[in-house]
């Protein structure tokens, strides 16, 4: 990347605190805490166990739900993408559930699941599950028949064709789905934590609001933003590492 683009990008990042500073300095948004105030609160929070427990809890919830979602959605998507019978059997039902907003599940899951923890995890899981599933299906359908034929003519049985041809050629699409899925997992997690209560960054941010400690709200938002960006980056890195063949340039 050339240096001018880098400069513009740094400017883009810096514009947020600058606008914030201007808005709070001139009272453009009533109740908006000043940056200095938030920095002070942030430092104070870093010394509180509650902040760290919330952060770790939320991170574990997202990662666990995301991994479970991927482990279920990827094989399911590959099967739906490759076998018409399987698609007819499962896809219509899944398509019916998909448009339901995740938040709408919260009262129901709290009612039927034995612990609030499980219902938060389930909502988070849903956020990651559908994007990964849909992208995997699309990726598996897009595999050119010539590759499977070539594999079979080299002696691959149907499991080996799946493992060595269908799965790797669907990988770029799967990773696109995982990036979107990771983002939605955070969205759903925070919403669920705000409603279900207990622990987590969503709850921390919401209870800061109810108790009137406005700088802590911003601390919560910033922390969620940082963790969200970090987990997207992690998924991207795994993606790059797994599909490096797609980026190699001709000699």
């Amino acid at each position: 990347m050339d240096s001018r683009r880098r400069l513009v990008r740094v400017g883009s990042i810096l514009s947020v605190p600058i606008l914030w500073f201007v808005a709070s300095r001139f009272g453009l948004l009533a109740g908006l805490p000043a940056p200095v105030e938030v920095v002070d609160t942030y430092v104070a929070e870093l010394y509180r166990d509650d902040f760290w427990i919330s952060t770790i809890r939320s991170t574990i919830r997202v990662l666990a739900s995301f991994v479970i979602a991927a482990v279920i959605a990827i094989p399911l998507g590959l099967l739906i993408g490759r076998y018409t019978v399987f698609a007819d059997l499962t896809f219509p039902a899944l398509e019916m559930l998909r448009p339901i907003p995740p938040i709408a599940w919260i009262p129901f899951t709290i009612l039927v699941l034995p612990a609030a923890e499980l219902s938060i995890m389930f909502i988070t899981f849903l956020g990651a599950f559908f994007p990964i599933l849909l992208n995997t299906i699309q990726g598996a359908r897009g595999v050119e028949v010539e590759y499977s034929r070539a594999a079979q003519s080299l002696g691959a049985d149907s499991y080996q064709t799946f493992r060595h041809v269908i799965y790797p050629s669907a990988l770029p699409a799967i990773h696109a789905g995982m990036i979107v899925g990771m983002g939605l997992a955070w969205v759903n997690l925070i919403a669920a934590e705000m409603v279900a209560g207990g622990t987590g960054l969503g709850f921390l941010t919401w209870s800061a609001y109810t108790s009137g400690s406005y700088p802590t709200i911003i601390v919560g938002i910033i922390t969620i933003g940082i963790l969200g960006a970090a987990s997207s980056m992690l998924v991207r890195m795994i993606g790059h590492w797994q599909v490096d063949w797609a980026t190699e340039q001709p000699a």
Binding site: S153, G155, P168, L171, V243, W245
Partner: protein
């Protein structure tokens, strides 16, 4: 038509078998018909085609584009089910792809997500028969040493085609089915590839069915050139290429080569004109 026809007279289905000849890789196409989309457009690609390719024979299949050459090859490979008739390999009916019947396509079908070495070792890995150093020595023979860890997208077209041939050879098939494998290459690369293929074939005793629409290529490489009719494809003429082996690309300047080429050209010209008329009519 074929020197192997005499061995089929005691049975209506079985062609020459390894028991009768001691060699493997004989192909028998009996009454092959393939209709695409029988309920809808009803494209008769191949109709009542008969052809025998002897074990270890090199046969070129020549014909105007769209005449059904690839269809025949895909039936032999086991990718397509014949609408009627059958394909036998060493007396057994073909019903699905098999590593004994290796295929090279026109555009390379190397797996883009595997390195060149992984591609070459793909077949042996599928049946747990990887030999240390074998992939390297085949790649070396194909002039691809140093590219083991490269991905296919990092290679030129000619190199990709060589890698694909290497992948096929590493799997040690009885039959090599090649669908216009060199037609996308420039003249010089094509000549190098033809030479390599002849070298490999003269050494390894494999049956080759080589599809091309290039008359000179067919005569240069094959023992027999089978010319197909325009669609629906059938065998129009079979030309025995009585030019001594080992051959090299210089034989194209000999009188015998010119004679054979003229003969093939006149047959193919007729069919190409018919094919054009078909298109006009359609």
């Amino acid at each position: 038509m074929s020197k192997h026809d005499s061995t089929t007279d005691d049975s209506t289905t079985a062609g020459p078998t390894p028991e009768t000849t001691g060699k493997t890789g004989a192909i028998d196409i009996n009454d092959l018909t393939k209709i695409y989309d029988p309920e809808g457009e009803h494209v008769v690609a191949v109709q009542d085609m008969d052809l025998s390719v002897g074990a270890e024979e090199f046969v070129a299949l020549l014909g105007p584009s769209g005449c059904g050459k690839s269809t025949v090859l895909e039936c032999i490979a086991g990718y397509l089910d014949p609408t009627d008739g059958e394909v036998l390999v060493d007396g057994n009916r073909v019903s699905k792809p098999d590593p004994k019947r290796g295929v090279v396509f026109q555009e390379n079908r190397l797996f883009p997500w595997k390195t060149i070495k992984e591609n070459v070792e793909f077949g042996p890995r599928m049946h747990d028969s990887i030999e240390e150093g074998r992939a390297e020595s085949i790649l070396d023979e194909m002039g691809l040493d140093g590219f083991e860890e490269a991905y296919p997208s990092g290679l030129s077209g000619g190199m990709q085609q060589r890698a694909e041939l290497a992948r096929l050879l590493a799997n040690d098939p009885d039959i090599m089915l090649m669908d216009e494998p060199f037609s996308a290459l420039d003249a010089l690369t094509k000549e190098i590839m033809q030479k390599k293929l002849l070298e490999v074939w003269e050494r390894d005793n494999r049956t080759v069915l080589f599809i091309t629409h290039d008359v000179e290529e067919a005569i240069l490489l094959a023992d027999r050139v089978v010319v197909m009719t325009a669609r629906p494809g059938q065998v129009k003429d079979v030309i025995d290429v009585d030019i001594e082996r080992p051959r090299d690309p210089e034989v194209v300047t000999t009188d015998r080569f010119t004679e054979l080429r003229e003969r093939a050209l006149s047959v193919i010209r007729e069919e190409a004109e018919r094919a054009l008329e078909q298109e006009d009519g359609a």
